[in-house]
């Protein structure tokens, strides 16, 4: 989560991505900070930087309302909610790319049904690793609950994403390291662990690539060219 109030730190963050073997990122921003990200993007031509917003709705109605504000402006739209109903709706709907599960209540709301829907519509299930980095002790119960939710996602074959939620270069986690963290702490096989930083983000991006602009066509929509009307015989 780059801190766009501190531009130099954000520039440092993006420029140190190659050090960690990272070629692209989903930069979290909001409507206020989106223009800053758009200004910064051309300064890093070798990196694939995608804008991403996080919606935090209470129910499905507020999710639909929030979506109208953000639609067509961001490359990736993710939803963070502790309501199973909202997670179900998000996993099914092609307009939303990622289910963001950050806390205990959100892990508890995630069930095999949501996982299966996420697999069917290739919605990413994201687990931020900030709790492992930031807290010093008392992590065992948090790891246990996170591991449980992750196992559900693995069994449902849903695309899992693990992210560092870094706001500075010293909070980043490399791609290779994420595979090892997934394997040693959460018990995810190394084969799937390697996909977390390679295949799965690509799958999520392919889901609805036209999201960034309203002028582009959504998947499954095509314009039929004008054709002359047939003259009556």
């Amino acid at each position: 989560m780059p801190d766009f109030r501190n531009i130099s730190a954000t520039k440092e963050l993006f420029s140190s991505l190659p050090f960690f073997g990272i070629r692209g990122c989903f930069a979290i921003c909001n409507l206020d900070t989106l223009p800053i990200l758009k200004e910064l993007k051309p300064q890093f031509p070798t990196l694939d930087i995608y804008s991403r917003c996080i919606l935090q709705p209470r129910d499905v109605e507020s999710l639909k309302r929030d979506y109208k504000k953000y639609a067509g402006k961001f490359d990736i739209i993710s939803v963070q909610s502790s309501s199973t109903e909202v997670l179900n709706f998000t996993a099914r709907d092609p307009r939303f790319h990622i289910l963001c599960l950050r806390s205990r209540t959100e892990w508890a709301a995630f069930n095999p049904g949501v996982g299966s829907l996420a697999f069917q519509s290739s919605a990413g299930v994201e687990f931020p690793l900030e709790f492992l980095v930031k807290s010093e002790s008392g992590n065992s119960i948090v790891i246990r609950l996170c591991r449980k939710a992750m196992n559900i996602a693995v069994h449902a074959h849903a695309p899992i994403l693990l992210s560092s939620f870094a706001s500075s270069k010293l909070e980043l986690i490399g791609g290779k390291e994420i595979a090892f963290i997934a394997n040693t702490i959460f018990g995810i096989p190394l084969g799937i662990g390697k996909k977390i930083t390679s295949a799965f983000p690509g799958l999520v991006l392919k889901k609805n690539p036209a999201q960034g602009s309203r002028d582009e066509l959504a998947a499954g929509v095509r314009i039929i060219p004008d054709f002359p009307e047939e003259e009556d015989a």
């Binding site: 270069k169 010293l170 963290i181």
Partner: protein, 111 residues
């Protein structure tokens, strides 16, 4: 009894201030024990073989069964004695000689 095999890991780090070997090793031990417990820490045999302050590279030695755990612990270590640090694993090898050979290849610029 068969001797335990070793692994050598080349790790690069980012830091704002210069950091001593002792400080790095202490931070790694702390994170490793916190994550994997005393039993695993007892069998890890973690040592710093070399430390290049200029290129900010260290070579770690550990038991081959604990390699993944050591990389995980290193990647989750963020502070040592109040100084901020971030590690990134570059290479692993079974012998020091082959690690140095691979490091030369890593440093060769791509044509």
């Amino acid at each position: 009894m068969k001797l335990e095999r070793q692994r050598y890991i080349l790790i690069e780090y980012l830091s704002e201030q210069p950091i001593e070997d002792k400080e790095i090793l202490s931070a790694l031990w702390h994170t490793f024990t916190r994550l994997f417990g005393e039993v695993n820490a007892g069998g890890v045999g973690l040592y710093i073989i070399s430390h290049d302050f200029e290129s900010k590279r260290i070579i770690l030695r550990c038991a081959h069964k604990q390699k993944e755990n050591v990389i995980t612990a290193a990647s989750l270590t963020r502070k040592t004695f109040g100084k901020r640090i971030a590690f990134c694993c570059r290479l692993t090898s079974g012998t020091l000689l082959s690690l140095r050979r691979k490091t030369k290849v890593l440093d060769t610029p791509v044509k």
